[in-house]
């Protein structure tokens, strides 16, 4: 086939029925350095072309057997994508005939009598065009090849990512509904959900800057931190600090991840929220139909250094049936054919028109379809409902050790003082310690919940002196958590002591947890007399401890709490 030659030496086909003219042209062309093929009629021209594929054709219009027009048409068809210039040799003067030459694909004319200078110039010009076309095709093919490679790289990256960042409990949880394109990853969209050991749920909706692999590559380390820390029982703030530090360290300066992270607690009936740079989330209260916006109060992850990072969260109370709604900016940024944005107003309209809370998710999807926007890979939405704790069943934790060497008779004491209480959450560590005892593993959820309650009571009511009755209503709730923040920051003195004892008992064993705080205590008798109440926002902690553990006791005016866990021997 044709190769693109560096010099202008071409193989040229002369299709001309007059022998003298043919001879003359051939000589002119050879003198110019080209190689020459000849044909005496249109059919011969097509055959020669098909066999030998010259670079350029000089075609006489009037020829016997097949005329130049038909031959030109056939040759153009044979040459496909490649440009084979056809210069018509003609003494036709009528415009019609000339028009016909162009119609069949002729690129230029040469009048008789032949002028060598003009012929040479035309050949040169046509050759330039021919080579331009060849270059374009080459580059197009190169681009297509590279595109294939990129697509393949993405496929591989996605496969790796899917293994690393398994979809957590997104698909298994009955209270989550979500919408996400399988290739959302390459628009930087990330949606993760996982249970904590206590049965709470952490959900992260993230949006990395950029597109393609750079946007996807940050998602893996982030997902590892999220899943790892959530499984160990770390809270939202600690997880955020780690995620921010990691991204700040590994991402280039101009890359960051907008994210909204929340912890939904079925037991405490609250949601803890942190929004760094994402569009408003919405907390829908079923009772009054109000949708509270959860606006971004923080910079995205990966921007601030660990020292400057702000991990303060907002806590909102929730009732059974309430929903949290999160969406990525792909929803609001969806454009229709007239370049209009879907926008926040339209979203609000869907919310306002909604009558059945269960249907709002579908209604938004429908509204986007009706809007006629182009479907995008970065439209991500998630709806999380607060259900009865009994309806939620976190999967059992998997353990990798053999179970042969297990500590069965030991005790340990800790004293966490003010400086530590401010910045350190000992719960994941304590839980890990306890889970070394195999007999306790089946109760890890209850264990964590009880430990968390004991610790938070000791910290909030004991050391910080907060009044739990503040949490009676929604505004009090917000104030409570605000005060908690302020007092914790200002803390100078105080302590929480934790003592754990594990001893064999009958065929199994017993764990005794002892938590003591430096606070003022409370009226134990009065609190114990209250009936176990599910609906009130405050005062549930004690009930929980009494329900999940055994022999719960409060002594020393409420400053000292004690509870036991038992287990039978494992088969």
């Amino acid at each position: 086939m044709n190769t693109v030659q560096p010099l202008e030496l071409l193989t040229i086909l002369i299709a001309e029925d007059s022998a003298a003219d043919r001879m003359l042209l051939a000589s002119i062309l050879r003198r110019q350095g080209h190689a020459v093929l000849t044909a005496a009629n249109g059919a011969e021209a097509v055959d020669v072309f098909r066999e030998l594929r010259p670079h350029l054709v000089l075609m006489d219009a009037m020829m016997p057997v097949m005329d130049g027009f038909e031959a030109a048409r056939q040759i153009k068809a044979l040459s496909g994508e490649n440009l084979v210039p056809i210069i018509f040799l003609t003494s036709l003067s009528e415009n019609e005939a000339l028009a016909r030459c162009l119609e069949v694909g002729g690129d230029d004319f040469l009048a008789k009598p032949y002028n060598q200078v003009i012929l040479a110039a035309k050949i040169k010009a046509m050759d330039r065009l021919r080579r331009l076309q060849a270059t374009v095709l080459q580059q197009r093919d190169q681009i297509a090849r590279h595109h294939e490679y990129l697509l393949n790289e993405q496929r591989v990256a996605k496969a790796v990512f899917d293994k690393v960042a398994h979809s957590g409990c997104l698909n298994a949880a009955p209270n989550i509904r979500y919408l996400q394109s399988p290739y959302a990853l390459f628009n930087g969209d990330l949606l993760l959900a996982a249970y904590t050991p206590a049965g709470d749920m952490h959900v992260l909706l993230g949006d990395f800057t950029g597109h393609g692999l750079p946007a996807a590559v940050g998602a893996m380390p982030l997902a590892e931190v999220f899943y790892g820390m959530t499984a160990k029982g770390y809270g939202v703030s600690e997880t955020l600090r780690e995620m921010n530090a990691k991204l700040k360290r590994i991402l280039p300066v101009d890359m960051f991840c907008c994210a909204i992270l929340l912890c939904l607690s079925f037991q405490r009936r609250s949601v803890e929220v942190w929004n760094g740079g994402m569009p408003d989330g919405y907390l829908h209260h079923i009772a009054d139909g109000e949708r509270e916006p959860l606006a971004a109060r923080h910079l995205p992850l990966g921007v601030l250094s660990p020292e400057s990072f702000d991990d303060r969260t907002e806590v909102h109370p929730m009732a059974i049936g309430d929903q949290v709604f999160l969406l990525s900016d792909g929803v609001v940024d969806t454009c229709n054919a007239d370049d209009q944005l879907f926008g926040v107003e339209r979203l609000q309209q869907v919310f306002a028109a909604n009558r059945q809370p269960d249907a709002v998710f579908e209604e938004i999807k429908q509204a986007l379809r009706d809007f006629g926007g182009e479907s995008r890979d970065d439209v991500s939405m998630v709806e999380i409902s607060l259900l009865e704790p009994a309806q939620i069943s976190p999967p059992a934790l998997m353990y990798s050790d053999s179970g042969q060497s297990c500590p069965l008779d030991w005790s340990v004491s800790f004293e966490f003082r003010a400086a530590t209480l401010k910045r350190f959450n000992p719960l994941p560590y304590l839980l890990q310690l306890l889970l070394e005892v195999h007999g306790l593993r089946a109760q890890s959820g209850a264990l964590y919940s009880v430990l968390a309650e004991l610790y938070s009571n000791a910290l909030e009511h004991g050391v910080l002196g907060l009044d739990s009755s503040l949490k009676r209503n929604a505004s009090g709730f917000a104030r409570y958590y605000q005060q908690r923040s302020v007092r914790l920051e200002a803390l100078e003195d105080g302590y929480i002591r934790v003592n754990l004892q594990v001893a064999p008992r009958d065929e199994g064993g017993c764990l005794t947890i002892h938590v003591e705080d430096s606070g003022k205590g409370f009226d134990v008798v009065r609190v114990m007399e209250r009936p176990l109440d599910d609906v009130r926002l405050s005062g549930r902690g004690i009930s929980l401890i009494r329900q999940l553990g055994r022999n719960a006791q409060w002594t020393d005016n409420g400053r000292s709490a004690r509870v036991e866990f038992f287990w039978k021997a494992l088969a």
């Binding site: 800057t209 950029g210 300066v253 101009d254 890359m255 960051f256 907008c258 760094g276 740079g277 994402m278 569009p279 606006a295 971004a296 109060r297 923080h298 910079l299 995205p300 921007v303 250094s305 400057s308």
Partner: protein, 99 residues
Amino acid sequence: MPVVTEISPDGKKLTISIKGRFDFAKHQEFRESYEKNHLSAIVVDLKEATYLDSSALGMLLLLRDHAGGESADIRVVNSSSDVRKILAISNFDKLFDIS
């Protein structure tokens, strides 16, 4: 659509004006506008900027990093309400003086 720079008469302040869309297409020009300078007082004028996206936010972060990070003095002025909204959601007013 250009990125225009101007140094104040006393040589202490650099003003960078963005015209049109502030997006990835301006990446190189924007960087070149401050790279050779080591002034720590910089004003980014968005009066004629019609649009701002996340890559523009990234470019501002690069600028901040170049100008001293935490100690940089960068003001983003004349933002339209649309631009302000974007800067507000991303909380960039915590990093830059925005008006």
